[in-house]
Amino acid sequence: MAKQYETVIGLEVHVELATKTKIFCSCSTEFGGAPNTHTCPVCTGMPGSLPVLNKQVVEYAMAIGLATNCDITQVCKFDRKNYFYPDNPQNYQISQLYLPIARNGYVEIEVGDLKKKVRIHEMHMEEDAGKLVHDEWDDTSLVDYNRSGVPLVEIVSEPDMRSADEVIAYLEKLRTIIQYLGASDCKLQEGSMRADVNLSVREVGTEKFGIRTEMKNLNSFKAIARAIEGERERQIELLEEGKEVIQETRRWDDNKESSYAMRSKEDAQDYRYFPEPDLVPIVISDEWIAKIKAQQPELRTEKLERYKKEFDIPQYDAEIITNSKHMADIFEATTAICKKPKKVSNWLMVETLRLLKDHDMEPEDIKFSPENLAKLIGLTEAGTVNSSVAKEVFEKIFAEDIDPEKYVEEHGLKTVNDEGALIEVLEKVIADHPQAVADYKGGKEKALGALVGQTMKAMKGKANPGMVNQKLKEMLKEC
């Protein structure tokens, strides 16, 4: 009888906060500047420079802590974590070890029928490191410190998860909460949300945890799921062979779908933390906490209920739309303009989701403006464009955010409601297709479809299909 194993997983999640400036200096956090343009003596660790804490970082961290049911540490401070690496010009990272800003929280997750709490051990504020790019030509590394000093929170869970599905549910939950708070955009691909997975296995029924490994470099939900599966199997294999799992950090290679050990013995992990002498303590009053609580925007659960009540949107649709803060924002803004929530929801649920899937995009990547979607809905409601033209125009809105009114005008896509013009075309179609006319008169209903098709084609798809049908029947009766 083969042994049964249970996977035990805890997560360390780093989230880049959506501040305009870095955590300890007034450099921009904007993504994508030329290397080292967003740097100053503070974020490059020049001797004599002094950090000053960005208040917004504390407020975002408090908001996340409160939304994840944590206790806020009312006297908290920073510590130095010492290590040498070219991405870290100070030779230490300013982080929090002894008095992190939030502790003892939880979020609730749902996987299938299972509802459970994943506890949060602690959450701390810290600074991001620079970026190393390997230069193939010289076989050297190039260092860019634009990311150095960008504010992060690190959210450390308890080892409460048991499967890849639970891990993903937990990450999605965190992501939704943080996006709703406006504290981060949480994009895994761009690295504004990063997850390190601590995983061990143990025989089902045993109390004691196995020896765990930490896996890094996981930048999509798919990669996380694959890495968990791969690491579980690797550890079980070792145990089955009577070997031991070594506590180490491993790097996941998603192309090879395997992991390898990252650090050698030379890089002993002894960070020699000590209180950061350049920063004074942070004292968080009850009033400050109350203020942050009062500012907390409507979170997803509340929004979902409101959509059902206020807009009469079905549960499933409301879930999909509110799953992304960005999509919910588009829904609300569009509805506010055109006052047609059902139509807006339809465009999001059908065409938008289809196009996102076709382009392998996330709802966060939606670029079109509510104004243009509202205009398109206006055009269809007024019968100015028919539904197939509307879909075509929507693809343009989705891709380039074009103004549909202008576009329809410029490309002559308006539905022709002009009876005179239609009759002219119909006369020609009837004259050109005597066989189809004869078939229809002989009782073949299907022949009508062919004539409608010819008419639509002659009118380049702009005819009003209902009107074509009706008029064609009338004219066929008479001829």
């Binding site: 501040t19 305009k20 400036t21 200096c25 007034s26 450099c27 921009s28 030329a34 290397p35 080292n36 343009t37 967003h38 740097t39 100053c40 003596p41 490059t44 000053v52 804490l53 960005n54 208040k55 917004q56 970082v57 504390v58 401070k77 010492n82 040498f84 690496y85 070219p86 991405d87 008095l99 190393l132 790019v133 390997h134 230069d135 010289d138 076989d139 050297t140 590394s141 190039l142 260092v143 860019d144 410190y145 030379e266 002993a268 002894d270 020699r272 209180p275 002498p277 920063l279 004074v280 303590p281 942070i282 004292v283």
Partner: protein
């Protein structure tokens, strides 16, 4: 001197600090560290029962900055003393991230 620093400890601290020390330097460092530990023993003689650990020497807290971008392109100054440079970046020996 009450405290003794072993050879292993000085070796380990050297690795952490990325320092290669000669035999003589190691002996000097050992003596320095022993002195520091002795000093901490002196401090430990004080009775600190019921006293909150202090994390900072000044009676100041909540020094903040508003979230407003002030700094412009600092790359010229940042890279001014770079021993090696390429593509507006510091060039360093190959490092696997």
């Amino acid at each position: 001197m009450a405290n003794k620093i072993s050879d292993e400890t000085i070796e380990y601290v050297g690795i952490l600090a990325k320092l290669e020390l000669s035999g003589e330097e190691k002996e000097n460092a050992k003596a320095d560290m022993e002195k520091m530990l002795d000093y901490i023993d002196t401090l430990n003689e004080l009775d600190t029962e019921g006293i909150e650990p202090m994390s900072h020497v000044f009676p100041v807290h909540n020094v903040f900055r508003e979230d407003v971008v002030v700094n412009g392109d600092g790359s010229k100054d940042t890279l001014a003393n770079a021993p090696l440079m390429k593509d507006n970046s510091f060039k360093v020996p190959k490092t696997i991230g």
